[in-house]
């Protein structure tokens, strides 16, 4: 694995490999000293053009637990617009001598551009509405750990909410369906992508009709701006029509689990008490996130060195 840009690059085998290695790092995370020297001497840069404290911290924690050196380059897009081009910024950072760059950007495709410009490994930590592959990997891992089926094959996953603007949804649809799950998107038409041509999903506008048949309900974050863009009459109406209220949560089968990429808007897409039900695995997602990112960093920077030394006996 040279770069991790899209879940699609991994394929089924790649996802399975990440899952397998993640098991080892979950164990590492549970040790009294949860740190291994595997990436000693490697330098990993977080290049975040968009604020995301959670994702940045998760990657940094993962890197530090692998004993990598970490650098942080955070910029608000506005301050960069007037200055140097994206390419110049990236080349400047690479000149400092780095092994991997974790890229987050509000624009789709930036990690692909960066990967074309640098020799370092590039990890997509979220590009615009497009993809967030490590989130999808940790979601797959969480489902395999937390759902009694211990596998995604044959599971029915409902992804509920703002699919249109969601990089999480795009990566999750790819990953879940690759691993054999059925996916139903539940959203108002204004929050679905303009075209679902080629997406292996079903669509519903009736959450109540979908919930009794799902194994996993995955809620997406609903952002307040959507009201002002005339995509929704109001958050209140969204909650009334699509929110996972306590009453709706009762429609779920006994072993169904509830997921959310965070941060949650309690009372909007998910009722406060539903988020705290035993079937809610939202905090497990966060915990698994570190182990999954350790696995990704390890696989990219350690498992398969670019030049393999000849076995000398």
């Amino acid at each position: 694995m040279r770069h991790l840009l899209s879940v699609a690059d991994l394929g089924v085998d790649g996802i399975e490999e990440v899952m397998r290695v993640t098991d080892s790092f979950v164990e590492v995370s549970e040790r009294s000293i949860p740190k291994v020297p595997a990436l000693r001497g490697k330098t990993i840069v977080s290049l975040f053009y968009e604020d995301s404290t959670r994702t940045r911290l998760s990657f940094e924690t993962a890197a530090k637990r692998l004993s990598a050196d970490t650098m942080n380059f955070s910029v608000s897009s506005s301050s960069v617009k007037k200055g140097e081009s994206l390419r110049d910024t990236v080349l400047t950072i690479e000149a400092m001598g780095i092994d991997a760059v974790v890229v987050r950007h509000a624009s789709a495709g930036v990690p692909w551009q960066v990967a074309n410009w640098v020799d370092a490994a590039v990890i997509n930590a979220g590009d615009g509405w497009h993809e967030h592959p490590t989130q999808a990997l940790l979601d797959c891992y969480t489902i395999r750990k937390e759902h009694p089926a211990r596998s995604l094959a044959g599971l029915h996953v409902a992804i509920v909410g703002d699919v249109k603007h969601s990089r999480v949804a795009r990566s999750d649809v790819l990953a879940f369906t690759l691993l054999g799950a059925r996916v139903t998107l539940v959203a108002p038409p204004t929050l679905l992508p303009p075209s679902l041509e080629g997406w292996p999903v079903k669509v519903s506008h009736d959450i109540g009709g979908v919930l009794p048949d799902v194994d996993v309900v995955y809620l997406l974050r609903m952002q307040k701006e959507r009201q002002t863009e005339a995509l929704l009459p109001s958050l209140r109406e969204y909650t009334a029509m699509y929110g996972l209220t306590r009453r709706r949560a009762a429609l779920l089968p006994d072993d169904a689990i509830v997921m959310h990429p965070g941060p949650m808007n309690r009372g909007v897409e998910i009722a406060a008490e539903v988020a705290d039900l035993p079937r809610s695995v939202i905090t497990r997602q966060v915990a698994n996130g570190v182990a999954v990112r350790m696995a990704v960093l390890f696989l990219m920077l350690a498992a398969n060195p670019k030049e393999v030394a000849v076995l000398d006996g």
Binding site: R20, V21, D23, S24, V26, E27, V28, R31, S32, I33, P34, K35, V36, P37, A38, L39, K42, L66, F298, L301, A302, A303, N304, P305, V308, A309, L311, G313
Partner: protein, 192 residues
């Protein structure tokens, strides 16, 4: 097989071709029994002794050793497993992949840890294992039990319990199986 050989064995390529059997199944069982007795003798019993098998070859040996210890002392000796992959000094030089999940579900403070492996070769795996153990506490002592010591050490490490000292050439390989110990070679042509 020693870690260095395993790096060349499947799934990374290479196949072990056995050439000569150096211990049969009975020899192997006798060696395990003897090592068990030596552990009891050295530690005046097995109180506070834990066995940690090194993934993957050392793990089945550790379990067999625990059976032997239980037969001698009528005490159950805990067995853990340790994958040293994240501590190896050849990360970034060769392909490395976790073999299995480490399981050391106890605090090692004040315990006697017996590391168990099938073959002792360069000593680098043991060096990594000593590093790894630190994450689980501060053992009173760490001892090393191996079925075969084949020489060619590259680090100042020596075993406390040895099943068989086996002189080898560097390019040979040693494989410990249920049915005994074999000397052979790892072919290189299938390497990636």
């Amino acid at each position: 097989m020693a870690e260095r050989e395993r790096a060349a064995a499947p799934p990374y390529g290479g196949v072990f071709i056995p050439r000569k059997q150096v211990m049969d199944a009975d020899d192997l069982q006798r060696a395990i029994w003897r090592i068990g007795h030596e552990i009891v003798e050295r530690n005046h019993g097995v109180t506070d002794v834990v066995l940690v098998g090194l993934q993957t070859g050392g793990v089945p040996i550790a379990h067999r050793l625990a059976e032997a210890l239980q037969a001698v002392t009528e005490e159950v000796v805990p067995v853990g497993s340790l994958d040293v992959v994240f501590y190896r000094d050849d990360i970034g030089i060769r392909p490395v992949m976790p073999e299995a999940v480490t399981e050391i579900p106890w605090d090692l403070d004040h315990r006697t840890v017996v590391l168990v492996d099938d073959v002792l070769f360069t000593g680098r795996t043991i060096r990594a294992a000593l590093d790894a153990l630190q994450a689980y506490g501060r053992p009173r002592s760490v001892q090393l039990a191996v079925i075969v010591d084949r020489g060619h050490r590259e680090l100042p490490i020596r075993p406390d319990y040895v099943g068989k000292n086996l002189p080898t050439r560097r390019n040979e390989a040693v494989d410990v199986r249920d049915d005994g110990v074999w000397l052979g070679e790892v072919t290189k042509e299938a390497r990636r």
